[in-house]
């Protein structure tokens, strides 16, 4: 078992989410930064479908009631195991009764703690992910929650440390493919998206990264019938302040989507911290 001593600001269980259920109104969910979650699983020799803990802005403290192999990836934070330092992006062994505590990340927002075997809670609609928007999946973790360790292990990993770059601290550059509703904006407004600087605001969450900056006004005065949306969509509500949809975004939306992030840049957006600035760069997809 893993016992949560402190969850920090927000810790949830996440795996690859619930693709293919959008017609039922169930969103994709899953780890916001898929790349880091996948690395954490790989380091402890788990199947890529295994569930791990996604913790936001550090502060997580967990006690293990049995011997476990653990790895932490994503936003780099100080890690202690019963007061002794451990390293990011490298598996380590935790003995029964020991406590692992994550401090505040130096950059980035979300860190991933994987344990060999995965988090073994009962899946809901095929996934163990918590969807904070729809409420599907296990609740966010609270102090005292006890989690079983699962059996989603594969062959042992052969790496001892993964040399990955931490999430960048300064201005982020995100590549964006125009559309599907770029025709709701004048050419000048479209230009504004890629020339202006936007700042991530504090009311961002797993649903979306909310941005502050020059307003992107619509050139129409009609109602857009709700339509399906994707992770990475840059949706523009009537305020003109764009929102980047993350893992728990609504399945459909009634506001125009000006552009969509290149999928490789979604994990970067998911690590953007409040106050961090973003510039968008126009990108064309080979069709």
């Amino acid at each position: 078992m893993i016992e949560i001593i402190r969850p920090g600001p927000l810790t949830t269980i996440q795996d690859l989410g619930r693709p293919g259920m959008a017609a039922l109104g169930v969103g994709p969910s899953g780890a916001a930064d898929r790349r880091s979650a996948a690395l954490a699983n790989r380091l402890v020799g788990n199947e890529n479908t295994a569930a791990c803990l996604e913790t936001t802005y550090g502060g997580l403290s967990v006690r293990f009631t049995r011997l476990a192999r653990v790895a932490v990836t994503g936003a780099p934070c100080p890690i202690t195991r019963d007061g002794r330092d451990e390293a990011m992006n490298a598996p380590f062994t935790v003995h029964s009764g020991q406590t692992v505590t994550l401090g505040r990340p130096a950059s980035g927002l979300r860190s991933y703690l994987a344990v060999r075997g995965g988090i073994g809670v009962e899946p809901v609609l095929g996934s163990r992910s918590t969807d904070v928007l729809s409420g599907v999946g296990p609740p966010a973790l609270a102090a005292g929650t006890r989690l079983p360790i699962g059996a989603d292990s594969a062959s042992w990993a052969t790496v001892e440390v993964a040399p990955v770059a931490p999430p960048p601290r300064g201005e982020l550059e995100l590549r964006v493919v125009p559309g599907p509703r770029d025709d709701w904006f004048t050419p000048e407004t479209r230009e504004l998206l890629t020339s202006a600087r936007y700042t991530v605001t504090a009311d961002s969450n797993r649903v979306g990264a909310r941005l502050d900056g020059p307003a992107l006004t619509w050139n129409r005065h009609e109602e857009l019938p709700s339509e399906g949306t994707v992770t990475g969509a840059i949706q523009v509500p009537p305020s003109g302040l764009p929102v980047i949809f993350l893992a728990d975004h609504p399945v459909t939306g009634g506001y125009p989507v000006l552009g969509v992030l290149v999928s490789d840049d979604i994990p970067v957006a998911a690590q953007a911290t409040p106050g961090q600035s973003i510039r968008f760069r126009r990108y064309s997809v080979r069709r």
Partner: protein, 202 residues
């Protein structure tokens, strides 16, 4: 059909209306190339998500443009009757706006045969077509921050029932105690596309 780009893992097919959307959706549910991973039907569009390592946007577009729409799966044997206590916060206002009284609104709402067209707003929410055109009203100018679970509501050309408490901009006519969503059931949603629905005053 117009195919709009939607990043590097999806395209948005824009069609003439809900019948065309559901025809294409039904055809793709029956047969589609490997690599198409999710379909989201909506009022005028079908979002098609794909795995770019398996299929290119060009192939997806070509397939969509060359797919014959299928007849929509109607499920006449699958009729759900939803008992409604008509005491909604907007009942009187709706009656006034369409020039009738509360009994008139209830009569129009219970007389129609509805069919679930698509979902998407929330797990278990179904957009029901078949609403009497006299009840077609735009969404409320200011949405409510909290609509109670089981609220029976209308907006535009659609009727619906809120499966859980949530923000919402529809006009509230009444409430039902019926459960619309449960992850322990298969399927978890009571109202799936094609289900016929009737409302009954209690």
């Amino acid at each position: 059909m117009k195919i709009r780009p939607c990043g590097d893992q999806a395209v948005l097919a824009e069609l003439n209306g809900i019948d065309a959307v559901l025809g294409l959706y039904t055809a793709l549910r029956h047969e589609r190339p490997t690599g198409i991973v999710d379909l989201v039907p909506a009022a005028r569009t079908l979002l098609v998500r794909f795995e770019p390592r398996v299929i290119s946007p060009r192939e997806v577009t070509f397939f969509l443009e060359n797919t014959q729409p299928s007849p929509v799966d109607r499920q006449p044997e699958n009729t759900v009757t939803i008992p409604v206590h008509y005491d909604g916060a907007d009942l009187a206002e709706v009656a006034e706006r369409i020039g009738t009284d509360v009994t008139g609104v209830i009569g129009l709402h219970t007389a129609a045969d509805y069919v679930v067209a698509f979902g998407g707003f929330a797990p278990g929410f179904g957009y029901l077509t078949g609403l009497d055109p006299r009840l077609h009203l735009p969404r409320r100018a200011v949405p409510r921050t909290r609509v109670p679970v089981g609220s029976v509501a209308i907006a535009g050309e659609y009727a619906g029932v809120y499966p859980r408490s949530s923000p919402g901009g529809w006009h509230l006519l009444g409430r039902t105690g019926i459960s619309l969503w449960g992850t322990e059931r298969t399927p978890p949603a009571l109202l799936t596309p094609g289900t016929r629905v009737r409302f009954e005053a209690t």
